[in-house]
């Protein structure tokens, strides 16, 4: 668990707890620190506490316990409008009775910025999101993607150092979403803004973030850069939640350094990297990414354990082949292979032998 409370942190949660009803904790003992300029994503299923954390940071919810620090000062008792945090809401929350220009000008007006400077800043913000021609439109006259850009511009126009985004791309179609993902990260990095981004879409989290905090059950399960998160999940929840994953259950036979031998429930033996198993006899759940499963024995190291597998289904997906296999008594074992010229196309009912490098197979807690 990441609980680095270093003095460099721009945003820090220190032992934060939140309960709405006084009986259950929605956020349990949250510790998090972010350096300036980082793009951090809070990822998790609904009800995992990620939005509550964001709302506490914005000031719309108060922490039941613990301290939230912004740039070294505790902000628990500062009302939202004095925190100077930009925020993009799920449904954009553009004020329908104001034009786009008035919407953008609003945060500047309440900050008592002069008219000419206001206009300059509004135009700059609109140009930044390529919406310079839309200042006189009403939000209702814009498409979803355009509204999204305006919402973003409005959150940035008063030059906050921290911007919060609460599932801002949820209402857009896939293509627009991917485009906006790129736009948002580009802007965040160009302007050097610290960003906290909440989403339940793992692709979004992986493609956009510097670091991802995976939430479940009111706790951060793992806080790591996307590649680490994907390749080295620290527990079964993260392994399951991020990307596609094959799991097999068994018992640890022996541990030696960075490898261990696991006896699957069907009796087969495999090698794996022990992550959070400590001694022989522990129940474990091993996880292997579908693209790390190897059918070509030549690529495996000598003496590697092999498993017999029966092809249940072969799906041609263009760039890859997706094969569903029956392995060790389970028939939901997925293998992804690249569509290379030498790759054989398997047929249903064929039997193959599969294996993997021990470091790709992680023995996690059961």
């Amino acid at each position: 668990m990441a609980s680095t409370s270093d003095s460099e942190a721009f945003v820090a949660f220190e032992r934060v707890q939140k309960s709405y009803d006084g009986e259950t904790l929605v956020v349990k003992d949250l510790n998090l620190s972010m350096p300036k300029g980082e793009f951090l994503t809070m990822l998790g299923p609904s009800g995992s506490g990620k939005t509550t954390c964001l709302m506490m940071l914005a000031g719309f919810e108060t922490a039941t316990h613990g301290e939230i620090m912004l740039d070294g000062t505790p902000i628990n008792n500062i009302p939202p409008h004095k925190r100077g945090i930009g925020m993009v809401f799920q449904n954009y929350a553009l004020f329908p009775h104001m034009t786009v220009g008035e919407n953008l000008s609003f945060p500047l007006e309440v900050r008592k910025i002069g008219k000419s400077e206001r206009e300059k800043k509004v135009m700059r913000a609109l140009d930044m999101v390529q919406m310079g021609d839309f200042a006189n439109r009403r939000p209702a006259q814009l498409s979803g993607g355009q509204q999204q850009r305006i919402a973003l511009a409005r959150a940035l126009v008063f030059e906050p150092e921290l911007v919060l985004m609460d599932e801002p791309l949820g209402a857009l179609d896939k293509q627009l979403r991917e485009h906006m993902q790129f736009e948002i990260t580009r802007l965040a990095h160009e302007l050097g803004i610290t960003t906290v981004y909440v989403t339940h879409d793992q692709t979004e989290a992986l493609t956009m973030s510097d670091r991802v905090a995976v939430f479940n059950d009111g706790r951060i399960q793992q806080l790591a850069p996307p590649d680490t998160l994907y390749e080295e999940p620290e527990n079964s929840f993260v392994a399951q939640f991020i990307g596609e994953n094959n799991t097999l259950e068994g018992t640890v036979k022996e541990i030696s350094g960075k490898t261990c031998t696991v006896q699957l429930d069907g009796g087969e033996l495999i090698s794996a990297r022990p992550i959070n198993v400590t001694k022989p006899g522990d129940r474990t759940r091993v996880s292997i990414r579908p693209e790390r499963v190897e059918m070509n024995k030549e690529r495996l190291q000598e003496g590697a354990h092999l498993l017999k597998a029966e092809v249940m289904e072969f799906i041609y997906m263009g760039d890859i082949f997706r094969t569903r296999l029956r392995v060790a008594g389970r028939d939901d074992f997925i293998v992804k292979t690249r569509n290379a010229p030498d790759q054989v196309r398997l047929k249903r009912g064929e039997t193959v032998e599969i294996g993997w490098l021990p470091e790709d197979c992680r023995a996690l807690e059961a």
Binding site: G59, G84, P107, V110, Q141
Partner: protein, 569 residues
């Protein structure tokens, strides 16, 4: 939000379709008929079914609501009572000029006598008196008292005639004289039947059993007219046989008047001898001019201004009621303002508008926070609050208004509490009822739900994220409310205000009970005219003006705010 964002592309699609349609002419269906026509045909069935579904309510509303209102409003210009009751008089008066300062000629008085005689027999003359009294005070009693004395002059003539022949008072003698011989002239009777029918408002059908002969009708026109009135009334209203009844006194007046001119020497019809004897005795009979007769009944009958009023209100339609309703009057010399001390309606209209504004304003002030709470509380508490808001709807209006009487009167609950608290001394308790204050308080209470409900339904649609967004952008609670929340709730305020304002300017019961003299509305005056003074025409005119006010305000509101922006739920 999403549907409006699509209007752009859809519009473009439409215009593109129009472009192609313009090039190729109207779009045709598969069978070659224009697409529009086949579409209409397909939709007609649907429309008819929809119409059939609303037809019962539509007919009900038309018959029980729209039609009576239209009829009532029509009374504000309708004025045929004068020309119906005094048909010949009003015709004769057309040639009279009121500016000469002279009363009308004897001929007019003669017409007036016969018109009035029939009207008094039919008991219609007092209605006319009441009608004309609205325009000239005192006319009502002139009609009533004169109506009682109309017989006297005829009785005197009868006595004189009976000295020449005993039978002049007999019904069958008169019937024989009037029926005469030779060709008859039933059109005279028919004309009188129509006049009586117009005056009384009944259709009066049936056989009169009398028709004068042509010769007698030419010889004694006035007598025949008076006898026809008598015959029509006796046969069709009383249901008696004409020949068996003694004629009205007006017939003798007619006879004396006719004999003066008539040459009876050549007449050979029945009872010609009696007629000749009467003609011979005529110089010995003391004749009274009808003008002096009326003057003796009431000296105001020779006052030209009375006749000018009758002349002014002779037309079938009049603007008089409407002029009255705005403190003006229609005089023989044209339209002028009423005297200061008789002006009341413009003040009442102003007061009604002012107090409705006050009620609307206090409803907004009191209702807005409640509606906000309703929209923002968790649903459990909101439901409870909603029940409290709706509670007044389940209590009788009279009970609530009477309750305010108990609360606000000088010996009432509020004054007692204030005195007990020592804020007000027992000697000068506050006067809070039977004045404008009482009306405003009670009506605000009664109309509050009509403000809260539209406000609530609008506020419910304003997502709380707007306020959060405003605050995250740096707005204080007040700025966020005033700049972001309030503008979006304006349609609700508009809807509630229109509802409360329109309801209150027509309100009657509450101002009647708690309004006293200074807190009553124009509607109370309308009710007074409809049920007490029975000046329905004026009541209708006031009502029509009120209706016009509402429509104008509604139109103005539509122009300024836009009725599409009003949300009632």
């Amino acid at each position: 939000m999403s549907d409006t964002t699509q209007t752009g592309p859809i519009d473009m699609g439409n215009s593109a379709a129009n472009d192609t349609a313009e090039k190729k002419g109207p779009m045709l269906a598969a069978d070659g008929t224009p697409l529009k026509r086949s579409l209409n045909r397909a939709l007609r069935r649907q429309k008819l079914r929809a119409l059939a579904l609303i037809a019962p309510l539509l007919i009900f509303v038309l018959l029980t609501f729209i039609a009576p209102i239209a009829d009532m409003l029509f009374r504000s210009v309708e004025n045929d009572i004068v020309s119906n009751t005094l048909p010949t008089t009003t015709e004769a008066l057309e040639g009279w000029d009121h500016t000469t300062g002279e009363p009308p000629s004897e001929a007019v008085f003669e017409d007036f006598y016969f018109d009035l005689f029939l009207a008094s027999e039919a008991k219609e003359h007092t209605k006319l008196g009441t009608r004309l009294n609205y325009e000239k005070t005192g006319v009502s009693s002139m009609f009533r008292s004169t109506g009682r004395g109309l017989d006297d002059i005829g009785d005197d003539y009868l006595d004189a005639l009976e000295e020449t022949d005993e039978r002049w008072g007999d019904g069958d003698f008169w019937y024989a004289l009037m029926s005469g011989t030779g060709t008859s002239a039933p059109e005279v009777v028919e004309a009188r039947r129509k006049a009586l029918a117009r005056m009384s408002g009944d259709s009066l059908s049936g056989d009169v059993g009398f028709a004068p002969s042509n010769s007698i009708a030419t010889l004694l026109p006035t007598t025949v007219r008076a006898y026809s009135d008598f015959a029509v009334y006796t046969a069709l209203v009383d249901g008696d046989v004409v020949a068996e009844e003694d004629p009205w006194e007006s017939v003798y007046v007619g006879l004396i008047s006719d004999l003066e001119e008539a040459n009876v020497d050549g007449y050979t019809g029945p009872e010609a001898d009696a007629l000749k004897a009467a003609k011979a005795a005529l110089p010995g009979i003391e004749q009274v001019s009808l003008k002096s007769f009326f003057q003796s009944e009431d000296k105001d009958w020779v006052d030209p201004s009375v006749w000018a009023t009758i002349q002014t209100y002779s037309p079938k339609y009049t603007s008089g009621y409407f002029l009255n309703a705005i403190d003006m009057q229609l005089t023989p010399d044209g339209i002028e303002m009423r005297p200061e001390n008789q002006q009341i309606y413009i003040m009442l209209f102003k007061r009604t508008l002012f107090m409705s504004m006050m009620i609307m304003g206090s409803c907004i002030l009191l209702g807005y926070p409640v509606a906000w709470l309703l929209a923002n509380l968790p649903s459990k508490s909101a439901n409870l609050l909603m029940i409290l808001v709706l509670l007044p709807f389940w209590t009788s209006l009279l009970v609530r208004t009477s309750a305010w009487k108990v609360m606000l009167q000088q010996q009432g609950v509020i004054n007692d509490v204030l005195v007990w608290l020592g804020l007000v001394s027992d000697g000068d308790r506050l006067v809070m009822i039977n004045n404008q204050f009482g009306t405003i308080v009670a009506m605000t209470h009664i109309l509050l739900p009509f403000m809260i409900l539209p406000l609530y339904s609008v506020m419910q649609t304003i997502p709380p994220t707007y306020l959060r967004a405003a605050k995250s952008l740096g707005a204080t609670n007040w700025t966020a409310f005033w700049r972001v929340y309030f503008p979006q709730s304006v349609p609700g305020i508009g809807a509630g205000s229109i509802l409360v304002f329109i309801l209150s300017i027509g309100y009657y019961i509450t101002p009647e009970i708690v309004g006293g003299t200074t807190g009553t509305f124009i509607s109370n005056r309308i009710a007074y005219h409809i049920s007490s003074s029975l000046n329905w025409g004026l009541g209708a005119a006031l009502g029509a003006i009120l209706l016009a006010c509402v429509l104008i305000l509604y139109w103005a509101y539509d122009r300024i705010v836009g009725i599409d922006n009003v949300k009632l739920g």
